[in-house]
């Protein structure tokens, strides 16, 4: 087996290719399309009604709450992954019950927070 190429090389090629493709497409379509603006066309499209004000509006706090609960549970998932990775090895080495209870306690504590958020209505839409 020859020495493996470091994994970032294909990733870089792919990233550069995708970037090149996006830029190429945007530039070519910019050059090809001939803009023929008129006031109605330039207006913001809100179903034909004249737009009132800008869209720099505030929006409901619910989006923030959901996002916040997401990031905290995301951290939880970040701990679950390495645990899942080595779980079978741990079972084989006789640490199965320990690892299982360790993660159960972790998930149960977070579950408490989740239930709290549920009960106070942070998940109600």
């Amino acid at each position: 087996m020859p020495p493996q190429m470091p994994p970032y090389v294909p990733l870089l090629i792919l990233g550069a290719g995708a970037l090149g493709f996006a830029v190429f497409t945007l530039v070519v379509s910019h050059l090809l399309g001939r803009p023929r603006p008129n006031p109605a066309k330039d207006a913001v499209y809100e179903c034909g009604m004249p737009a009132i004000g800008t869209a720099r509006e505030r929006f409901p706090i619910k989006f923030y709450l959901v996002c916040m609960i997401f990031i905290l549970l995301d951290v939880d998932a970040a701990f679950l992954y390495p645990w899942a990775l080595v779980f079978r090895d741990l079972v084989r080495d006789g640490w199965g019950t320990f690892a299982f209870l360790e993660m159960t306690a972790f998930v149960a504590l977070l579950g408490g927070g989740f239930v709290y958020a549920w009960k106070v209505g942070a998940l109600d839409w």
Partner: protein
């Protein structure tokens, strides 16, 4: 000087990021930008952890990064919740507006 990136180069990068984060905290007056600068400083610390752990051949530093990230997530969630609560009271995000603990 050696052209390879050594631990010193990673550490220099970390110092640079940390100082930039600190400078941002001094310069900016928007609370949210200041929180972002704090995230930048936490990241600089993480980079130093990874660089040292890499050099010294121990994994402790990298595991600490794990916990730093958790703390950063908790900090962002609570910090931004506080920002929202503050914004309700004063309708601004300028740090100079928040000079009292209670109003």
């Amino acid at each position: 000087m050696n052209a390879e990136p050594t631990v010193q180069h990673a550490l220099l990068l970390s110092v640079g990021l940390f100082a930039l984060g600190a400078l941002g905290v001094f310069l900016r007056r928007n609370i949210i930008t200041i929180l972002m600068c704090i995230e930048l400083m936490l990241n600089a610390a993480n980079l130093a952890f990874v660089a040292f752990s890499n050099h010294l051949g121990t994994r402790e530093g990298q595991i600490l990064v794990f916990f730093v990230m958790t703390v950063a997530a908790a900090e962002a969630a609570v910090g931004l919740a506080i920002v929202i609560a503050l914004h309700r009271g004063k309708d601004t995000l300028d740090v100079d507006a928040f000079s009292v603990l209670k109003w």
